[in-house]
Symmetry: C2
Subunit: 371 residues, 2 copies
């Protein structure tokens, strides 16, 4: 099966992601728990994000981590499906929290719910909005439970030791979940700060928030994949530790790059409205650095537009261009690169394999991607 | 320990609930996962409902089911704490969905969040409301994860077999959760129907919804308690089946009684605003029966007030009195009694014990309680 000398190219990397996409979707579509989703609107909403084209980076990392430490990737497939569904419920709730209208180029869950309320229940605009909110909450809750069952069934079917699975699910539902919630709450609290109030935020505080929001779930994907691959619940195992540290650092770089894409990204590629991060007043390294370097007139213009939900598209474009010229993008790119450079050596102790090489390619892709 | 001949009285029953309350709270307060809750607003909101006085009926039923089948109740304590926290996250999300302002006599989670947004972050009314919504979503999510870990640790500590725990958590996160979401969604959808549109709802549909919303979680509490008590994952065991059927039927009776309390209950006892079910247009057996028996002028008055969020307290009181005189309360009481009568014989195969007698008392308390 394994081609020892195969060099990873952009196209073989994407081919692998597509393979993961197919396996995960096939697994989920035939999953028994999915027959429970009722009524129809809940089922529609639970499937909506999952069925939209997506990169499936977290399941890919989990499977590759399992393979790279010598495990059978097939045994980790339920966990790969589980991490994708777990990630999905956080997207559904975060989109509602952040008032995001689009996800993967189509209406976010609460927007979809609102449309269903109008078309299926004949609700007024106001009640439809409330119905959309309610459906998004319950959709995320359903996915949260579903994700848990996907992990558990590795132990029920007997392919992975119960003690390994218990430890993984415990970690996901305690430490990981608490960190995700912490990061999302900080993001919400920071976004309510005016640009002036946020002048005291440090780069370290922002990076900490990015790690909480994104790094933690990548760290978990690498750690859990390695635990499953070794069928061991010894967290101190050097290979498991190495995989955890590697994916944690790459995860933070991923979110730094995400912030760049949030400013310069092309709507047709990102599936998110152009400039939504600027409009929502997201506090990023990009913004903090630009403010530090801004001349008084630029500073005034930035504080006027950032976080102003009624800004015109022209002003948004001007802000995007200022964020670049004032070094915000560059500083974030440099930081992301540093994280990847710190990450790579962690894999030195892992024996060479196609899985390892795909992980190394993935690390570099984290900061080169444009969507 | 066990007093074979002790007769259960109202006061010994409440004494037992108080003991459960103490044990569950003590367990939760010293739980390691609770140290993860950050920032402060999340921690405050996660604890808010849990620390308010409450009956702790679900943990009590779970512990009694474990004891009644011959198990050691101490082993089931993490699950008892888990079912209370699981119930709590559904309350937090349901209160947001139902726009309920009070829970246990104090602000609901989103209201509390909104107050924190004003006092701690200095937010405007509109942004504080959004912050309250966001905090309630993330609070419920945190509790959902926490509940899962509480169940898991019975297996991690080794007091209960991993296969039993895996089966219990799988059932909770798939079947039980899906039914709860189904019930809550139906409740939302029915509440958007005008009184006229809802004339085609049958008693069976309403009872199905009540079972989904409440019966399922009681059924789970009895079933899981018995599984833990026997340390067996054989769902076909007659005692486990008996406990499941008994608690399922009682759970539906509980919710029927809840609907009665929702109309005639005293705000100082229920901790909910008087008449909120009437104002929100809740579709209950009480309402359907009253509409069936109403004279045209009464029918018109009921349709005018039910579901009208701006109704005066005088009109709410008139509706409450009509719901009684038109047989709505009586019909619901009769139905609840029938459920309890069907439930009791299921326990015949269980050997007499104080636990069993407390469960039988609990069943009768379900339909006698006034809050």
């Amino acid at each position: 099966m394994e081609n020892k000398n195969k060099e990873i190219t952009q196209s073989s990397f994407f081919e692998y992601l597509l393979k993961v996409d197919n396996s995960v979707l096939e697994y989920l579509k035939s999953h028994q728990v999915a027959t429970y989703f009722k009524p129809q609107d809940i089922s529609t909403a639970v499937w909506s994000y999952i069925l939209r084209p997506a990169k499936r980076l977290r399941p890919a990392v989990l499977l590759l981590a399992a393979g790279a430490v010598g495990g059978d990737r097939k045994h980790a497939l339920p966990a790969a499906a589980g991490i994708e569904v777990f990630h999905t419920w956080t997207l559904v709730h975060d989109d509602l929290i952040d008032n995001d209208l689009l996800r993967r180029g189509l209406p976010s869950a609460h927007e979809l719910g609102s449309e269903l309320g109008k078309s299926n229940l004949g609700l007024s605009e106001i009640l439809a909005k409330e119905y959309g909110r309610n459906l998004a909450i319950l959709t995320g809750d359903t996915q949260h439970g579903w994700a848990t069952t996907l992990f558990l069934e590795m132990a029920i079917s007997g392919v992975v030791s119960p003690q390994v699975v218990l430890k993984i699910v415990y970690q996901l539902q305690s430490y990981v979940l608490a960190k995700l919630v912490y990061g999302e709450t900080l993001d919400v609290q920071y976004s309510y700060q005016t640009t002036f109030e946020s002048r005291n935020l440090t780069d370290e505080q922002i990076v900490e928030m990015l790690w909480l929001k994104t790094g933690v779930l990548y760290e978990f994907s690498g750690w859990a994949g390695a635990m499953i691959g070794k069928n061991s619940n010894n967290s101190d195992d050097p290979e498991i530790q190495a995989m955890k540290n590697f994916t944690s650092l790459c995860g933070t770089a991923f979110q730094l790059q995400d912030d760049i894409i949030g400013v310069v990204g092309d709507e047709s590629q990102t599936g998110k409205p152009f400039g939504s991060d600027i409009r929502e007043g997201k506090k990023t390294i990009i913004v903090l650095e630009a403010l530090r370097n801004a001349k008084p007139t630029e500073y005034d213009f930035l504080t006027k537009i950032l976080g102003n939900r009624d800004s015109s598209i022209e002003d948004i474009k001007k802000v995007a261009s200022l964020l670049r010229s004032l070094n915000g993008i560059k500083r974030t790119e440099d930081l992301a690169k540093q994280y990847i450079e710190k990450a790579l050596p962690h894999l030195d102790i892992i024996t060479d394999s196609e899985c390892k090489r795909l992980l190394l390619f993935w690390a570099k892709y984290m900061i080169e991607r444009t969507f």
